[in-house]
């Protein structure tokens, strides 16, 4: 048992809280940038889970390299999302979901 193993309950709680905040950001916020930030926050919870998993199983290198892979993917998705926000702003002049809803769900 490492030091990391002793703190599992706090880390689990942190993962749950960060993930919850991220989901709240995506679901409840109306500003497109905040929705995207909610997504990045949710990804941080995942990264924490992988880093902690690596530390817990005495294999920190693996956990951290996985975290980097996930961060890279997150950056790519965020870049695509932001490019779409730019285009939305060009078409509507707004980045708020209440003003750009033309499609019916």
């Amino acid at each position: 048992m490492s030091d990391a193993a002793a703190n599992w309950i706090w880390v689990s709680a942190a993962i749950a809280v960060i993930a919850g905040l991220g989901i709240y950001g995506i679901v409840a916020r109306r500003n497109l940038f905040r929705m995207l930030m909610g997504f990045t926050m949710l990804t941080k919870a995942v990264t924490l889970a992988f880093v902690y998993g690596g530390a817990y199983w005495m294999n920190p290198g693996l956990g951290q390299s996985l975290a980097i892979i996930i961060i890279v993917i997150e950056a790519a998705v965020t870049a695509v999302g932001m490019s779409m926000i730019v285009n939305i702003y060009r078409h509507y002049g707004a980045v708020d979901t209440s003003q750009i809803k033309r499609l019916r769900g």
């Binding site: 997504f39 949710l42 919870a45 995942v46 294999n59 996985l66 892979i69 996930i70 999302g81 499609l103």
Partner: protein, 502 residues
């Protein structure tokens, strides 16, 4: 090329991703010197060559997928292709090749088609990677490669508002979905310390219930968003109708099925202990999904939105097949589900491609304004009719054969639930006639055919006729000789039954 992993990585994935780079670079160089249209053509040629070459490679070496010899290289189980992966690949490649051919004519007015073809190849690589993935991280990485390229493809025509708005909706919901899925996979890693799905599966039975259940819920929700299971489907009609028609065909035909496949892969390895419970969950979702999809499709006035909602409904059939298969250990259910993935891929792609052609010529997607379009464009109209009848499950079309197996699996279960499920599925098939038949009727009823004829050229280009005719042929032939289509399905079913053990 001795081991399956090495073949999958070097033979399939490497040519696809290198082909994407090559298509973009060569396309860009040629479009600088000879104009955009030539660049797009060059990129299309490279795409077709890469996809066709890789497809031929899988057909020539089918045995590699089942060879279980000890790997010479330690791949850490990153790729573990089996018969199920080979089945997906055999559906993916013909579809990609036909759509790429169709896009040569369909996308000729668009700028930057070199990027379009490069993204198409990257998307193919992502799908092939998901099909062959053996550990949770490679599953996630390839899934994200697939997702990111499809985000870009949906909003490819960024000049108009609809693809952009639908695209953002698509990005945010699907990013949420895949992040929830990777959170579930992260929990699995946290509790097992292993990444390979087989190794996690070996450990999972000794765990407390809570982390496994949490991971299961996250994975089903996450990939449920990708697979458009009903409470999570709301992004699909927007994204699938706003995308260029070739991309709609791919998204509806195979991408959402790959989402379901990823879930299936995890269920069959990691959650194999809870298979019965998963089966029950899938059955419930399937019944809701197909009924809801069909009822909403009835109310659509936009032909592509109607087809998109019909994809939701057809997804319900596929999920029902697997749900019944897991819950009752029914061979017919699994076979029907896999076979419906295959038949639906070609039927739905055919519907979107022919509808896309009609829409492009008529300049509208509204059903009411498409009156008489089938008379002005008899080939496209006939192709759409074949696709619609197949999707509705009329005998003599391929959709009937796969749906029949799913109905049979429910009746064979011999319980009240099974009979109810099959009845619901049959009733849904009849409901779906309520929007397919009016659509065909509208296309062929007398209308402004003369005006449409003026707008469009006299006859479609060869690049449109070839894929549409090939898909119509597949739909008709599989309706009469389902054995031909079951060839790739049966080994995959055997692979699944190694896990179910029924």
């Amino acid at each position: 090329m001795q081991t399956p992993e090495l073949f999958w990585a070097m033979g399939l994935l490497l040519p696809l991703f290198m082909g994407a780079v090559l298509a973009y670079v060569v396309g860009k160089i040629i479009s600088r010197t000879r104009g955009d249209r030539a660049g797009g053509l060059a990129a299309a040629a490279i795409t077709l060559a890469a996809a066709a070459g890789v497809y031929i490679l899988t057909l020539v070496y089918p045995h590699i997928s089942t060879g279980g010899a000890a790997a010479a290289v330690d791949w850490l189980g990153v790729l573990e292709p089996d018969a199920l992966s080979l089945f997906m690949v055999k559906v993916i490649f013909p579809l990609i090749i036909l759509v790429a051919i169709y896009s040569i004519d369909y996308m000729k007015e668009d700028l930057g088609t070199d990027k379009y073809y490069a993204l198409l190849l990257i998307m193919t690589g992502g799908m092939v990677g998901v099909a062959g993935a053996g550990d949770i991280v490679s599953l996630y990485v390839f899934f994200e490669i697939l997702s990111i390229s499809s985000y870009c493809l949906v909003s490819f025509r960024k000049q108009s508002w609809e693809p952009i708005e639908a695209g953002f909706k698509y990005v945010i919901t699907n990013a949420l979905g895949s992040t929830l899925a990777i959170l579930g996979l992260g929990l699995l890693y946290l509790f097992s310390g292993k990444l390979s799905m087989a190794e996690i599966a070996a450990q999972v039975s000794g765990w407390p219930d809570l982390p496994v259940m949490a991971a299961l819920v996250l994975v089903i929700t996450g990939f449920g968003v990708k697979a458009a299971m009903v409470p999570l489907h709301f992004w699909l009609p927007d994204a699938h109708s706003a995308a260029p028609s070739g991309i709609s065909a791919l998204l509806s035909g195979i991408v959402i099925q790959v989402g379901f496949f990823a879930m299936l892969r995890l269920v069959l390895t990691v959650f194999a202990v809870q298979l019965q419970m998963v089966g029950l969950i899938l059955i419930v979702f399937a019944a809701i999904t197909m009924t809801y999809g069909n009822y909403i499709a009835l109310a659509q006035s936009d032909i592509k939105r109607m087809l998109a909602y019909s994809s939701v409904a057809q997804m319900g059939y596929i999920i029902l097949g697997f749900g019944v298969g897991f819950y009752y250990q029914s061979v017919n259910g699994i076979t029907g589900g896999l076979f419906h993935i295959e038949t639906h891929a070609f039927m739905k792609a055919l519907a979107f491609l022919s509808a896309g052609y009609i829409i492009e010529r008529a300049g509208t997607r509204r059903m009411a304004e498409l009156k008489g379009a089938g008379r002005a464009m008899p080939l496209a109209g006939a192709a759409f009719a074949v696709a619609a009848l197949g999707l509705a499950g009329i005998p003599a079309f391929s959709g009937f054969m796969s749906k029949l197996m799913i109905y049979k699996s429910g009746f064979q279960a011999g319980t009240a639930l099974g009979v109810v499920l099959s009845s619901v599925a049959i009733a849904n098939s009849i409901i779906s006639l309520g929007y397919y038949l009016p659509a065909i009727h509208t296309l062929f009823s007398p209308g402004d055919a003369a005006a449409l004829k003026q707008k469009g050229a006299a006859s479609p280009a060869a690049a449109v006729i070839l894929p549409v005719a090939a898909m119509a042929l597949i739909t008709l032939v599989l309706g009469w000789y389902p054995e031909l289509g079951l060839g790739p399905v049966n080994p995959a079913v055997a692979e699944i039954f190694k896990v179910i053990g029924g």
